[in-house]
């Protein structure tokens, strides 16, 4: 595949990638110039963006951020994007609500403060708009004309929408048996949507091969060759949570795990805020949440392993159904380092948790939100999560995307004739 040369990267890097300085291998530490590469040439480890972050008065930086737009670009000084990013055509995601979940807290016995970071409020109704927005900027810089991805559904919609806004072509790949709602929400933006006969891991393999083939020339795969930039979008969840708490670290965060990238980037974001002096340094715990039907990281955590054995997924939480999670080992490191844990819940518990959150807080979460709320409840009951500590739980997508999950157990309370007697007889008055 024809990709820009290292020399070209060097010349574009200073302005195009803001404070980003290089790509660094998370495994062996080798550094590479900023480019459309995602795996280390030495050890195949994942590459991530290394920064030269702003120095100076934290209060000045805090004021600058607070004066910025009500979207992720308020954090542009901490992201691998050009300074004028907010003026370019993109979906401007982020700055979603942090909901104080007092009713749910009462129900679960949480006394230290419970918040739902509700990312269903993003333009395509999942957190994926954050990561795609960063990848889109990198795609523009590298001159890609087609935006692509492997997706469990949410990402497909986010890529289709972002490409439409940016005037790029999109062609995205999904497992052929995704929820009908997610297929519609991805296809409506007019790009190509291709179903692959297989699981998400098969889709991912296909995309990895396509990117090394002339057929994929000129394509920016947001979660393959643009993955180092894309992942950085999840840092904005950490930034927003702390800013919305009044520039304060939460004590505990419950994060869903698919590949595990989001959890690692939230940790990275929290550490950056501490290093910059934007929040006071104190311990925090990060908890990972999986569905039992696809719980390789939870299984490794419970077994005390530091590697993750891949599994074949079988769960209704399809947005988390990655059987071979690329960042799994790092999730294990972070859960153990911070004193958190990784836990999993059954599909029945996921559905129950979706309904619990909807009933108590008026938030309709997709299955991934059912996983985090279900794991929150389970960790509390196991005594692994402190009910007296301030806790944030992520809801990463809208329940309208996964109606099938709750439809069998949700419906009319009664069907009556249009008169008062009939209503009285139904016992609903």
């Amino acid at each position: 595949m024809a990709t820009p040369t290292i020399t070209e990267h060097d010349t574009t890097a200073p302005a195009a990638f803001g404070p980003a300085a290089a790509l660094s291998c998370r495994e062996c530490g080798e550094r590479f110039p900023l480019g459309p590469v995602f795996a280390c040439e030495i050890c195949f480890g994942p590459l991530e963006v290394a920064y030269e972050l702003p120095t100076g008065d934290p209060e000045a930086l805090r004021r600058r951020i607070e004066a910025g737009p009500a979207n992720i670009w308020r954090y542009a000084p901490l992201l691998p994007v050009p300074a004028d990013v907010a003026s370019k055509p993109n979906l401007n995601p982020g700055w979603t609500k942090l909901v104080k979940a007092d009713n749910l807290a009462r129900e679960l016995g949480v006394t230290g403060g419970l918040h739902i970071k509700d990312d269903s409020g993003n333009p395509t109704h999942s957190f994926k708009d954050r990561v795609v927005a960063i990848a889109l900027e990198a795609a523009r810089t590298f001159g890609y004309t087609t935006l692509s991805c492997s997706s469990t559904g949410n990402l497909a919609g986010a890529v289709g929408a972002a490409a439409a806004r940016a005037g790029l072509r999109s062609c995205v790949f999904i497992p052929h048996d995704l929820e009908a709602g997610k297929v519609v929400m991805a296809a409506v933006y007019g790009g190509e949507l291709v179903g692959i006969e297989g699981t998400y891991d098969d889709v991912n393999r296909f995309c990895s091969e396509l990117i090394g083939d002339p057929l994929g020339e000129g394509w920016g795969f947001v979660n393959v060759n643009l993955r180092p930039y894309y992942g950085e979008g999840s840092k904005t969840l950490a930034y927003e949570i702390c800013e919305q708490l009044g520039w304060k670290l939460p004590d505990q965060i419950v994060v869903p795990i698919a590949s595990g990238s989001q959890l690692t980037k939230i940790d990275k974001g929290l550490k950056e805020l501490i290093a910059l002096g934007l929040v006071e340094d104190k311990p925090y715990k990060i908890f990972g949440a999986q569905a039992t039907g696809c719980s390789p990281v939870s299984a490794a955590y419970k077994a005390g392993h530091d590697v993750v054995r891949p599994v074949k997924p079988d769960t209704i939480a399809k947005s988390l159904a990655i059987g071979n999670p690329a960042d799994g080992p790092y999730v294990l490191d972070i859960a153990r380092r911070t004193g958190g844990a990784v836990e999993d819940v059954s599909d029945a518990e996921v559905v129950d948790a979706i309904k619990l959150l909807a009933r108590t807080e008026g938030i309709f979460a997709e299955t991934a939100g059912g996983v985090t709320v279900g794991v929150l409840r389970k960790l509390l009951s196991e005594g692994k999560l402190d009910p007296a500590a301030e806790t944030v739980v992520l809801n990463t997508g809208d329940g309208l995307k996964t109606l099938d999950a709750v439809a069998p157990t949700t419906g009319l309370s009664a069907t009556i004739r249009p008169n008062l007697d009939s209503f009285r007889e139904a016992g609903l008055a």
Binding site: E27, A39, D201, C207
Partner: protein, 92 residues
């Protein structure tokens, strides 16, 4: 046994830029050893110091992830397609 091996972009410096090469061997381990004899240095990129597959490398024999099969002992039938792929792709 002669097999076709798809080479990821980051290893093509070892194969003169070729995206696909032929190799011999009845198992994945033999195929990798044969690759090394023709493309010196490639084995150390795929295997770690203890001779195991690196944890961020996925290898498929035809459509099967060898981690679900017999790892390096996975048979490589004549005409099989072997794919070496970075594992860090995908997800979020």
């Amino acid at each position: 046994m002669s097999v076709s091996v798809r080479i990821p972009t980051i290893l093509r410096t070892y194969t003169g830029g070729q995206a696909e090469v032929k190799a011999e061997g009845a198992t994945l381990a033999e195929v990798i050893a044969n690759l090394e004899s023709n493309h010196a240095g490639i084995s150390a990129r795929v295997l770690d110091d203890t001779g195991k597959l690196r944890r961020f490398v996925n290898v498929y024999v035809n459509d099967d992830d060898v981690r679900f099969a017999e790892g390096l002992d996975t048979p490589t039938p004549d005409g099989a397609g072997v794919s070496i792929i970075p594992a860090v792709a995908g997800g979020c």
